[in-house]
Symmetry: C2
Subunit: 402 residues, 2 copies
């Protein structure tokens, strides 16, 4: 017998596994000790359809019990793909064949399928800066080189996007995809204008690249005008769109999807490793949602609008008169704050910890540095009165941190 | 505006996405038109706990409704990891801390986490030949170079494994891992002997590699002696073990796990893209299983033993007297048949289609060619009397195909 030895993980790990090896991950759930959970994009727990899910389970067991507990279709439960098509028809007047939809374990997983299908370690992509920190973790894991594109009130700055694409072309490199969050951009807040949407699509065609359109919150619009999705506007099969039930049903079901040109579906499916995605919970969620989609979403819009307004009220009551900039998103879960000039971040963080306030610091949303003068607050988890109370506390902490 | 153009997918796809691009995947569900579904490893639908899942859902909603519908722990629901530890204690007298367990979307996904963590395109691994076709698809997608190791009645031939490892060493290459199915090997049938298990672990230490131990069926043992798992026998943190609820609860829940040295857990977790694995169905399955694990598994053992015996009876009644070789696995879902000398595969396939019999042809289980003279039959899906009837039909087709 050989003497037992510990494996040399440094030699055995894959290139992608080595990325960030040894670093710790941010919390994925509400922080238990937080008094005010303004950190993650956690849906409102009081809105979950607890009874509805029990009833839907009984309906599923009666109608489709054996398939619910068996391996499923590789592309995902057809009933759920029909529900997604129904949702697009209802909310956006958009017709999508179910063959163009592939189900995933939440939209984070959906995005990872797109990165796996198109990105090799070192490949360039474009992304808004700032952008969602969770997606940045997924992008990093795939080893993509991220070229930043800033945003303004109309969303991604397409003039800068063009410069970045031209720069890559001059290097002889192909941009693999452009990642964008089109509605209530996370974290910065703007909805991309119609004009910018058309410019971005034209860029994708001109530079022979793809667009990965992330839209986790689109239905949760409180006010303002919705624009057609990039997927709907495109005419040449270059837009992949990610969606999710997390924000309109509950994140615990882990159901998302990609809606994409049909020829790409096999490329994504190759990275689903066996058994079909969640045949059981796909059916339970579908049976609940197809009876309740419209009234449930309408109820959520009212809930989150109140929550946003309560937080904004608390922030402005204390910070009015400073040169703070506070986003007012037309939907979604987040407020983005440019701190007043001279705010000392360390002081703010200490005060926030003391008051039990969880928030996310700006640099988490930048692939290549930046964001030190910003914070993101989520108004989705706490009830309105807690949003108001906590907002006043953190606003006071901001004011004091100078 | 630029003129719309179709994307050049050939230029845009990642290296891994290009593997097998254009090939079609085998069916993941029972084939609807099959009269006798002997193809895939589909659990028995009459054994599913339909009522139990409805009750468990009501219990979950009462006890843990909000976390069930929210984002979950990155490593997986702790209650499920406790259930896995409980199962190991109960069935194998093995103590595993919950920190060493990471939850996945079924064991196929669990295996993919291990390949993602350790395998770059071109990296060598060792695997039994034949081995499970689903894992071969996952291995291919990761671009691993598979070195074959044959089996005999004691499982993987460790003498050949040594030769392969020595060959790699002489090439200056590190074997990333050794993939093995230890119990009722799929498809060939043998359970790895105690002696071979110890030899394989010694090889992993001597050649500084890892072992990926796949054990989806271990609890479903009808007879014969169970041996300690490789994970239990190892003393140096080189064994990663994959398990699943698919075969003892239902594949539709998509719940599997890796049980591994704790230092490796972050490497696997890096390839779980957001939100925690199935917080909802993890709870429903756990609440059902922790009340019913032992009696439910005992019932399944009786069910599948009967099914195996019915199929074996049908096969031998017709094929007795030929030089056919038919495995008699001590558990699991599959029978492996070495066809009688001179069997013409085309004739057999045509006759099987005519009789509506779905089966899997040997080459599906070989990474580097081989298996033409073999077929695999699954006895798990059809009831015993259908196994008997269908087995006689395919046995007759085999007899005629000469």
């Amino acid at each position: 017998m050989t003497t037992p030895t510990n494996p040399r993980l440094d030699d055995l790990l894959s290139t992608r596994a080595r990325i960030g090896w040894g670093a710790s991950a941010p919390p994925a759930r509400p922080v238990a000790e937080a008094l005010f959970e303004f950190g993650g994009g956690h849906p409102d727990p009081s809105s979950f359809p607890y009874e509805g899910m029990i009833e839907a389970t009984a309906d599923v067991m009666k109608a489709e019990g054996a398939p619910a507990l068996s391996y499923g279709e590789p592309q995902g439960y057809k009933g759920l793909r029909e529900l997604v098509a129904h949702k697009y028809r209802l909310f956006e007047n958009l017709e999508v064949p179910t063959d163009n939809i592939i189900v995933s374990n939440g939209s984070g997983h959906a995005l990872s399928l797109a990165f796996s299908a198109f990105v090799d370690v070192g490949d360039p992509i474009l992304s808004e800066a700032p952008t969602f920190s969770g997606t940045l973790a997924t992008i990093r894991r795939h080893g993509a080189r991220v070229l930043d594109v800033p945003l303004d009130a109309e969303g991604m700055d397409t003039a800068v996007a063009r410069q970045q694409l031209e720069k890559l072309r001059s290097e002889g490199k192909l941009c693999k995809l452009i990642y964008t969050i089109v509605n209530f951009q996370n974290p910065a807040g703007p909805t991309m204008s119609r004009r910018r949407r058309e410019e971005l699509i034209a860029l994708a065609h001109e530079f022979d690249t793809l667009i990965l359109e992330d839209d986790a919150y689109g239905e949760l619009r409180f006010e303002g005008q919705a624009h057609p999705s990039l997927y709907a506007l495109d005419k040449g099969g270059r837009v992949i769109r990610a969606g999710t039930l997390s924000k309109i049903l509950g994140a615990g079901v882990r159901l998302g999807w990609l809606c994409a040109p049909r020829q790409m579906i096999p490329a994504f499916q190759g990275f689903l490793f066996g058994g079909g995605v969640n045949p059981y919970v796909s059916r339970v969620a579908t049976f609940y949602m197809r009876e309740n989609l419209v009234p449930h979403v309408a109820r959520l819009v009212d809930i989150y609008r109140l929550k946003r307004d309560a937080m904004l009220k608390g922030l402005w009551e204390v910070l009015g008169g400073t040169d703070v900039e506070i986003s007012k998103p037309e939907g979604g879960f987040f407020i983005w704050i440019k701190l007043p000039t001279g705010t000392k971040i360390e002081g703010l963080r200490e005060a926030a910890v003391k008051s039990g306030i969880q928030f996310t610091w700006g640099p988490a949303f930048y692939a290549n540095g930046g964001g030190e003068g910003f914070i993101r607050l989520a108004y989705s988890w706490e009830p309105p009165e807690r949003n108001y109370e906590g907002a006043k506390l953190i606003a006071q902490a901001i004011k004091n941190a100078r």
